[in-house]
Symmetry: C2
Subunit: 233 residues, 2 copies
C-alpha cells in the first residue's frame, strides 16, 4: 500500500523549515522511528551534512531519527533496509544526477511503491513524478537521464505560480512553460501551489493543504482541483 | 571580426515583436541582405514555418529577407554559405537538442566566430554562451549535450529578474539559482535584464540598451555593469 506525500515546498513564507508539515511528518513516519534523508538536491549549495542536520532537527521534534543517505557505504542497501524516506528540495538536476549515478533511483521507487512511507518537498516531489521535465530548476549539471520514480502517473510542477498581471516581464509564465512541455509529451502535470501537497494512500491520490492545484492535460484547457479532492485522469 | 548581438528578450512589454531591436537589426544585417532564421526554439510550440513568417515580417520592414534554416535540405551547408543569422527565443532545450542532432551547433559557432553577423534573443542568446546551463527554461526534451557555441567567454541568463520583495513565494530567486550554478561551475554569468543586449565587435564586449546587467562570478558578490560599459573578466 503506497503511503506518500509530495509537497510543493518545504517552507511557507514567514514560517520555519517544515513547520506546516509537522502533522504530516508525524502521521507519515510514526511507525518508522528512523527515516533516511536524501540530501542530494543541496539548496544553495549547502553540504550534505549541513542539510541533513537542518532536517534532522525538525524530525527530532517529532521524535523521529533522521540519517543522511550519503553517510551509508552502500546507499542501495540502505534504502532496501530503510523504513521511510524524506527527500528535501534544492536543485532537481543535482538530485536526479546523483540518484542515477548511485544507481538508486529505481531502488527508491521500488521500496516506496512497496509501501514504505515517503515524503518529498519541491525537488524531492519532482522525482515522484514520471520525469523531472516540469521542474523550475536550472540545469546546473547534466543528469544521465530525466526519468524519475513514477510513483504517481503524472508530473509535478512545485512552487506553481499564477501569472502576475502587473509584472511587465516578458519571460514565459509557468502555464506557458507547461504548455510547451505538452507540445513534446502527453504526461499530465499538476501545478502544485505552495502550501499544497499530494497524498497517495494505496491507489487513492488526493490534493491536501490549503490552495487549489492547477491541472494541465495536453490539448485541453487547464482546470483547478480543490483540497480534499481526488486527482484522477 | 566578431559581429554579434545577444539580447535578453525579443519583445518589450507593450511593444511589438522585435520593435526595440529594429535599429540593431538594420545595423547588424545591412550588408547581409539575406539572413537565415533558426526557428527551433518554437515559443509556445509554434511551428517552424509560422515562427519564421513572424520574424520575416519584421525583417522585411528593414529590407532584409529572412529564410528558415528548416527549409534547407542541408542545414550545415546553408550555414556555411549564409550571410548572417538570427536565432529566436523559445525553449532552450528544444533549440539545443535540434542544433546538436543536426550537427550544426559547431558549424554555426565557426561561421559567427569568423565574422558573420549574429543576432540572438532569449534562447538564441543563451546558445551564444559557453553552455545552456543558466537558462530559465523547462527541460521539456533531453539534449545530447548542454554545450553551446561559446561566442563569449561567459554564460547568459536572459530575462534576468530581480527578487520581488513583496512576493510571498518560496521558490528560488534567479540570483539563488545562479549561485547554485556556481557551486558546480566557474563560468561567469551575465544576468541580462529585459531591454539590454550584449554587443560583441571583434574582441570588445559591451552592454547596450537601457538597463544595467548583473554579473555573477563564483565566490564573489554580484555586481552591476551599466549600459555602454565593457564586460570583461
Amino acid at each position: 500500500m503506497k503511503n506518500i506525500v509530495l509537497a510543493s515546498t518545504s517552507t511557507l513564507y514567514g514560517e520555519a523549515y517544515l513547520a506546516y508539515l509537522q502533522p504530516v511528518i508525524k502521521e507519515l513516519f510514526a511507525a518508522a522511528g528512523e527515516v533516511i534523508f536524501v540530501p542530494y538536491a543541496r539548496p544553495g549549495g549547502i553540504s550534505h551534512d549541513e542539510y541533513t542536520a537542518n532536517a534532522a532537527k525538525v524530525f527530532a521534534d517529532a521524535g523521529i531519527t533522521l540519517r543522511g543517505l550519503h553517510t551509508f557505504d552502500n546507499p542501495a542497501e540502505a534504502l532496501r533496509v530503510g523504513k521511510g524516506f524524506f527527500t528535501g528540495g534544492g536543485n532537481t538536476f543535482l538530485l536526479v544526477k546523483q540518484l542515477h549515478e548511485l544507481g538508486v533511483m529505481q531502488v527508491l521507487a521500488e521500496e516506496v511503491s512497496n509501501g514504505k512511507p515517503y515524503l518529498g518537498t519541491s525537488a524531492g516531489s519532482n522525482i515522484g513524478g514520471v520525469n523531472m521535465q516540469t521542474t523550475n530548476d536550472m540545469p546546473i549539471v547534466y543528469p544521465p537521464s530525466f526519468t524519475t520514480m513514477g510513483l504517481v502517473p503524472f508530473n509535478l510542477n512545485p512552487h506553481y505560480l499564477d501569472p502576475i498581471p502587473e509584472l511587465p516581464h516578458m519571460g514565459e509564465t509557468r502555464e506557458t512553460r507547461i504548455k510547451e512541455f505538452h507540445t513534446q509529451q502527453v504526461v499530465p502535470v499538476v501545478g502544485l501551489r505552495e502550501g499544497g501537497w499530494i497524498r497517495v494512500k494505496d491507489t487513492r491520490v488526493t490534493l491536501e493543504g490549503v490552495p487549489a492545484a492547477r491541472i494541465f492535460l495536453p490539448g485541453k484547457p487547464a482546470y483547478e482541483v480543490k483540497s480534499g479532492e481526488e486527482i484522477v485522469f
